[in-house]
Amino acid sequence: MGRKLLTEHINVEGIDTFEVYRKHGGYRSVEKALKTMTPDEVVEEVKKSGLRGRGGAGFPTGLKWSFLAKPEGVPRYLVCNADESEPGTFKDRQLMSKLPHLLIEGMITSSYALGANTSYIYIRGELLYVLRILEKAIAEAYAAGFLGKNILGSGYDLDLYVHPGGGAYICGEETALLESLEGKRGNPRNKPPFPAVQGLYARPTVVNNVESIAAVPVIVNDGGDEYAKIGVGKSTGTKLISACGHLNKPGIYEIELGVPVEEFIYSDEYCGGIWKGRDLKAVVAGGSSVPILPKELILKTAAGENRLMTYESLSDGGFVTGTMLGSGGFIAMDETTCIVRNTWNFSRFYHHESCGQCSPCREGTGWLEKILHRLEHGHGNERDIDVLASVAKQIEGNTICPLGEAAAWPVSAAIRHFRDEFEWHIRHPQEATRPGAVYPGKAVLA
């Protein structure tokens, strides 16, 4: 059984209240940081921990913090990205609704490290009920003297607010999120300037994912070096994996990075295998944006090594035979799954969520959806697969924000690994579009 750094007490009765959370060691990191450490010492511990951004990009959190501009007399902000919307990902919602004080504690300690006196949690609008939970917990923290003026007599002031979105995947992109927080449409900004220099209200700003912020208390309490001992190589610490799709036990699992993928899928400690006694067909391991891999390549790398739940192992082989850990949204598909249908579904998602600012994305995602819809419904032609691949390629790298890549990668990967299934839809449309049709394998194309 792996260590649980974030979720150890998640099932404790009343852990969402200040009193119970405090009794289980809560808010110790605030005391330690504010009373015994300078802000830079906190940043240093986070650097040492090797913590990487848990929202999907995996960028080292401590390094991101060190980029924050600190001009004299200019306020700076910490904004928590709680706009969890990446299909397959549902960890932050669980963490915030069950352990609201963990995020609040992380926000206080992190804000202190960054010298922010006002911080925001931007939560997706659909989670208004979680916003209510957080606001209640924040009120408790104020009452206990952990927020507000002169926290614990340290002279440090912090106000913390929760801000709801309005239903837009794009607001998970940090500059779109900041636009949204300013009361505007969620159109990503051109960079540079980066948020670290000009973020919220054109002031220096750090934007971090919920899970990254929630890891800060344990890093401050135990020290960055201790945290870095967990995991494998540059994948340190624990990660929340949102397991969903055709699994016997879907749910949130906090794993020590380095668990073999095979163990994660099949062991009873985790997902307990594929539902209905079926075989595994494919996995999207890090949220819908990352490349899909067939069973053989998700369990073992192309070189035949066991694939591990780490940033490095999952990306072994690049995009030719590998994928990404991403947000940890782990979507398993059984042998009856239609890959064309699934790819169409994800393309519809990205088309729907494109903000429309950049033409390659606005138009390209529309074409991907249209062509995939046509293929899935038995009206495809032989050229469609190459057109799809070419549209995907032309979106990639040609947009302001990474939504373009997020839309292109799943299509490119599905064609790369399941091209024959697309061909089957074109050559045998009647069989392929029959309700409940299951691709019988390459032999049918011979």
Binding site: Y201, I331, E353
Partner: protein, 191 residues
């Protein structure tokens, strides 16, 4: 048929006004526009589950911005309903992980039971509007439907679907929001 009486200008309840004041204080004074999305949520809850043009104008007035600044936001974010809706809006997640666990079938079933169609107006009895939405971040509990602030999860059995619908059918007033005192006229008059 065109109405012959002048439309009544909508007004926020006292409770909502107090909540809006509280929210506006969360942002720097000159950045009142930041309260746009939270205030639109309050407006939608106050005025029957959708934001009519005159309601959006009211939001503009309250925030001290031009109406166009509200329109461009309300049309960008999917949570704001721009047309009248039924008493309950069922937001059915249609994205990959939910589709793998039967959201397509769930949508058809909800259309059959309620008589409403996705993307169209409310059911004949005025009770339900069906709306397909993208990922609700509850993929491990798929398929999922959101109604206002509540998530109904694992709707993969007849019993779970019926339980949700009968709960909604038996709901006289929408649940009160934190700033609304129980029994306050505005907490019960809408939706």
């Amino acid at each position: 048929m065109e109405s012959t009486t002048a439309p009544v200008k909508p007004q926020f309840s006292e409770a909502a006004k107090a909540e809006i004041d509280r929210i506006c204080k969360q942002y720097p004074e000159e950045r009142r526009k930041s309260a746009m999305l939270p205030v639109l949520h309050i407006a939608q809850a106050e005025f029957g589950g959708w934001v009519a043009p005159e309601v959006q104008d009211l939001v503009a007035e309250v925030l001290g911005v031009k109406p166009i600044e509200v329109y461009e936001v309300s049309t960008f974010y999917t949570m704001f309903n721009l047309k009248p809706v039924g008493k309950h809006v069922l937001e059915i997640c249609r994205t990959g992980p939910c589709q793998l666990r039967g959201s397509d079938e769930l949508t058809l079933e909800l259309e059959r039971i309620t008589g409403a169609k996705v993307g169209e107006g409310p059911s004949a009895d005025g009770l339900f509007t069906l709306k397909e939405v993208e990922c609700l971040a509850a993929c491990g509990f798929a398929p999922v439907v959101q109604v206002r602030e509540k998530y109904y999860e694992q709707l993969d059995t007849e019993a779970s679907v019926n339980a949700m619908l009968s709960e909604l059918r038996n709901m006289v007033h929408r649940p009160a929001l934190p700033w609304e005192e129980k029994g306050l006229p505005n907490a019960v008059a809408n939706n």
